[in-house]
Every structure is written in structure tokens, then in C-alpha cells.
């Protein structure tokens, strides 16, 4: 029996039960909507910390995961809106292209790694290396982020409503970081920068989309690249 046949219809919600179907069957049922304009509302139940739940979606679906999920949840997401009512393991929404991933609990390491687009919202805390190598995606963390967040991030933005751990923005390229709380330390080539109107506008828009319309952008500081590390400097030619 396929997971779709198996899916209990709950109103117009298709329920996919990981206690009854294996992961590949559940993901295939979700991915069956890919490459179409199909919309749909799915609930994944009994996730029990399973890895790679709701990966590789490519349609404007609404997917709710009721429980904790493991590694790489909603990885490579495109167009879909995935809500996790629990915590997620390493690499949530890694390499997301578009769409939205919302985590009601905490996220483990490397949340939003290499995301090219889309919005990732973590309502709890995210641990180390949040937004590592970000390539254009946007991340809002309502709690704190761990050390080495935005390591080598190239473009996109991270807003943190709480505090940031050590070595924030190490080896940063052209991504923007906004932190409301305290920062334990900045990584190599990451510096505090002036908040200008364009940044306040960007942050306002980002927070509004993350459901933080009551948060005042003037409470944030902006961090970015000093651009000393990644450009070749003619002054250093004698070293080579």
C-alpha cells in the first residue's frame, strides 16, 4: 500500500504516519506533488527524531511535522512551507532554494547551511554554525545561536533576537548579520557595522515575515565583513 492510499484523510489534510510507512514512502508521497502547481496540506506524524523528513520538496505545499525531527529536515526545500512542531537535528533546511521552514522548538547545528533562498525561522535556539556558508537564504532565530554562526556565509541574512556565541561571522563574505542580544565574540574579519536605513528596512521586513512585528529594529546591531580577508591585496604580493 502506498503512503498516499495509506494516508488517513483528516478533512482535506493528508496524514502521513512514519510509524506505519517508512521514510522513503512518506517522502515519495510528498515529492509526488513536485513539478506541478499542486497545493496540498500534509501532516507527518510519529516522526520520532527520524532523519531527512520532508526533504526535496518542489511544490507550494503546506507540510506540518508533529513532533521532533532528526538530521536534514526539509533539506533542499523549494516552494514548500514546512512547519516542525518540535526540535530538529543537524542541518535543518540545508541548501533550501525557496519557501519557508519554521521550527517551533530548537535546532541543532548547521541550521540553514548553504541555503540559497527561502526563509528559515527557528522559534527556540539554534546551536553551533547556524547559517554556515549561507548563499542567499534568510534566517530568523528567536532565541540564541551557538558558536561559529554564519561561518563563511556568502550572501543572505541572519537575525538573532537573543545572543550569539563565539566567533560570529568568521571569514564572512557579503552576508548580513543582525543581533539583538550580546555577542560572545566576533570571528576573523567580522566587524560591527553601522545600521543605516536600508538595513533597518531589510530587518523590519525580515522580522515581519517571521512573525516578529512587535520587535523593534533599533535594538539590533549589525555585523558584516571587514573585507580584509577574502580580497587579494596587491600590498601582499611580496609574500608570494
Amino acid at each position: 500500500m502506498s503512503a498516499v492510499e495509506n494516508a488517513g484523510q483528516k478533512g482535506n489534510v493528508a496524514v502521513l504516519d512514519l510509524a506505519e510507512s517508512d521514510l522513503r514512502t512518506v517522502n515519495s508521497a510528498l515529492q509526488a506533488n513536485n513539478s506541478s502547481k499542486a497545493s496540498g496540506y500534509f501532516q507527518v506524524v510519529n516522526s520520532r527524531g527520524a532523519h531527512a523528513v520532508a526533504c526535496g520538496l518542489d511544490a507550494p505545499l503546506d507540510v506540518e511535522i508533529l513532533g521532533h525531527a532528526g538530521y536534514f529536515c526539509a533539506g533542499m526545500n523549494k516552494s514548500a512551507r514546512v512547519v516542525v512542531k518540535g526540535n530538529v537535528g543537524t542541518g535543518v533546511a540545508e541548501n533550501m532554494m525557496s519557501g519557508e521552514v519554521i521550527v517551533r522548538g530548537d535546532a541543532s547545528q548547521s541550521a540553514g547551511a548553504t541555503a540559497h533562498g527561502g526563509l528559515l525561522v527557528i522559534e527556540g535556539n539554534a546551536s553551533a554554525r547556524c547559517g554556515i556558508s549561507l548563499k542567499g537564504g534568510e534566517i530568523v532565530v528567536k532565541g540564541n545561536v551557538g558558536h561559529m554562526s554564519m561561518f563563511m556565509a556568502q550572501s543572505g541574512a541572519l537575525a538573532v533576537l537573543g545572543d550569539a556565541g563565539d566567533a560570529l561571522g568568521d571569514s564572512l563574505y557579503e552576508a548580513r548579520i543582525y543581533v539583538r542580544g550580546k555577542v560572545s565574540g566576533l570571528g576573523a574579519d567580522c566587524i560591527e557595522k553601522e545600521m543605516r536605513d536600508e538595513h533597518r528596512t531589510q530587518l523590519r521586513d525580515l522580522l515581519d515575515r517571521a512573525g516578529c512585528d512587535d520587535v523593534d529594529v533599533s535594538e539590533f546591531k549589525r555585523y558584516g565583513s571587514a573585507r580584509e580577508l577574502y580580497n587579494f591585496k596587491a600590498d601582499n604580493i611580496s609574500v608570494y
Binding site: R48, G49, H51, G70, N87, T90, S127, A128, G146, M148
Partner: protein, 299 residues
């Protein structure tokens, strides 16, 4: 990779099911390491018989009664507490060093796996489910337990190289990660009188903690010093007579998650190990911070 789990009971109901719950947790971590598996259990023996030794004989036909008799004559009072698979839990009236030396001379096919008032370690090559079945660990009750399933990197796949490692009374360590300065540290610790049975990196970390504790450090102090003296990747879970502790390296290279309810504290490499625990839906679940020593009980 390696998968590690721990469970500390805060209620009699969880104490009674300790082996059962821990077994489910460890089996869930099977695909983090298929080479060998082991469990350290902390429980009181039926009557207080002093130090109990967990011994392993690779020969399935080994004459345990003969060993008990010989030990009775050579060392002092000795008694079989119970047999489990290739291991036997034996009460012996003697210091661990004396017992191990005597075993080496008279029963070279028998290894000492653990020694202490409450600790029992069972470990073998194979998948967690095989190891748990061999030792019938689901039926065992106790106050706390640690488990490990190994993907070998730093030393050979042998039972001796399996976790948990114990180098001191009632102390054990499970480890996900690898240490890079274990050879030099092993030399230093040998000069301090700590003995090692293998070339394994984790055994050096266990020996390091034993040495620190012997110098009067608390477990928390010993683990804090470990942050300075151990170089490498690690999430450690440490068991002591009455408690357990968790420590991650400064860059949190290896995963770890903790859960706590009124009935238990649970530790694992990944959340899915917790999924079968009672009341986990409403547990406090969090990821331990790097460089922070977490401990429960009289650790």
C-alpha cells in the same frame, strides 16, 4: 561516528526498566556504529559482597567454577554473582590490581572488564541488538546506565577496544569522537601508575579521569582539566558509582542531546534514541553546550 546513550533513573519505575529502556535507546543508534557494542550498568548486588568484578572469557566452555575455586584459594573469599553471556560478575576479596595480575598469571584467557561496588560492564563485537540479546540486558534493573555502539577509527575492532572503558573503581567512559594526543598522554599516565590494556584513545581518556580523581579532583574538576589536556573531538559520557556526567569538546564537533523529566535524565547522540522513553513528549529536551560539564547524581 559512534552512537552513545545514557539513562539516569529518578524514579523506581524507571530503575526497574533501566535495562529495557537503555537497550531500546542503544539499538536505535545502531547505524551510527556497527562494529561493537557495550553497556555499563550501575546496580546494587543482592547482598553487599564488596567489590564485584566483571570478567570476560572468550572460550564459551570456560570453567567459571574452577576460577572461583582457584581464586578462593589464592586471593580470598570469592563467589559467583551471575553469568551473562561471555561475562561473569564475580565477587572477589582483593584489590583490582592484585586480581588482574593473578588473572594474567593463571587465567590468561580471562580479562577484567570492570571492577567496583556497583558497576558492571558487558561488551562484545557485533550489533547492539546481538550484544543486548547475548547478555540479556533488557531484564536488568539499576540506577543508571551508559551504552555505546562503535564505528572504529583509532584502534582495532576487538572486544578489548569496545566501549565502555573502565580504568578505575566504578568509573567508566563512553566516547563519540577521536583523540589525537592519546599516545603521548598514555606515556605520561603510565609514569603515574595508570595501566592500559589497549592502544585505544578512549581508554586513555578514562585513564586520565582515573588519575585526576586519584589526585583528589572531583569529577567536575577532572572533566574541566580534560578540556585542557585532551586534544581531539569528543562527546563523553562518564559513569560514576552514583551518577553520570556529559562533556562536549570546545567546538562541539560530535552530537549530543539531553532530556529530563521527573522520572529520568537521558542522554544520546541523537534525539531518536529517546523516542521510546515514557513521557518524552513532555520532557525538557536540549542540546548541551560545548565545554560545559553536565552532571547528575553524586557524579
Amino acid at each position: 561516528m559512534c552512537g552513545i546513550v545514557g539513562l539516569y533513573a529518578k524514579s523506581p519505575a524507571v530503575e526497574a526498566q533501566l535495562g529495557n529502556y537503555l537497550s531500546t535507546m542503544l539499538i536505535e543508534m545502531t547505524d551510527r556504529g556497527p562494529d561493537s557494542a557495550g553497556v555499563a550498568l550501575y546496580r546494587d548486588s543482592p547482598d553487599d559482597q564488596g567489590i564485584k568484578f566483571c570478567l570476560r572469557a572468550s572460550d564459551p566452555e570456560f570453567d567459571w567454577a574452577g576460577l572461583i575455586n582457584a581464586a578462593g584459594n589464592a586471593i580470598g573469599k570469592s563467589a559467583m554473582i551471575e553469568r551473562r553471556g561471555s561475562h561473569a560478575v564475580v565477587a572477589l576479596e582483593g584489590e583490582p590490581e592484585t586480581v588482574e595480575q593473578w588473572l594474567g598469571e593463571h587465567f590468561p584467557g580471562v580479562q577484567m572488564v570492570s571492577a567496583g561496588h556497583r558497576i558492571e560492564i558487558f561488551k562484545e563485537m557485533g550489533l547492539p541488538v546481538q550484544v543486548i540479546d547475548e547478555f540479556n540486558l533488557r531484564e536488568v534493573s539499576g540506577s543508571h546506565a551508559l551504552g555505546h555502539t562503535r564505528m572504529a577509527t583509532e584502534s582495532a575492532v576487538t572486544t578489548d577496544g569496545s566501549h565502555p572503558f573502565s580504568t578505575g573503581l566504578d568509573l567508566c567512559l563512553v566516547h563519540n569522537g577521536s583523540l589525537s594526543n592519546h599516545n603521548r598522554l598514555r606515556q605520561r599516565l603510565r609514569k603515574q601508575g595508570i595501566s592500559f590494556r589497549t592502544e585505544n584513545d578512549t581508554e586513555v581518556a578514562a585513564g586520565y579521569l582515573t588519575w585526576q580523581l586519584s589526585q583528589g579532583a572531583t569529577l567536575k574538576e577532572a572533566l574541566t582539566s580534560a578540556l585542557k589536556d585532551l586534544d581531539g573531538f569528543y562527546t563523553f559520557a562518564v559513569g560514576t558509582k552514583q551518577g553520570f556526567a556529559v562533556l562536549r569538546d570546545p567546538i562541539a564537533c560530535k552530537p549530543a542531546v539531553l532530556a529530563e523529566t521527573d522520572d529520568f535524565v537521558a542522554f544520546a547522540s541523537e534525539y531518536r534514541a529517546f523516542a521510546g522513553l515514557p513521557g518524552i513528549e513532555s520532557a525538557k529536551v536540549w542540546e548541551p553546550e560545548p565545554e560545559v560539564v553536565y552532571h547528575w547524581g553524586a557524579a
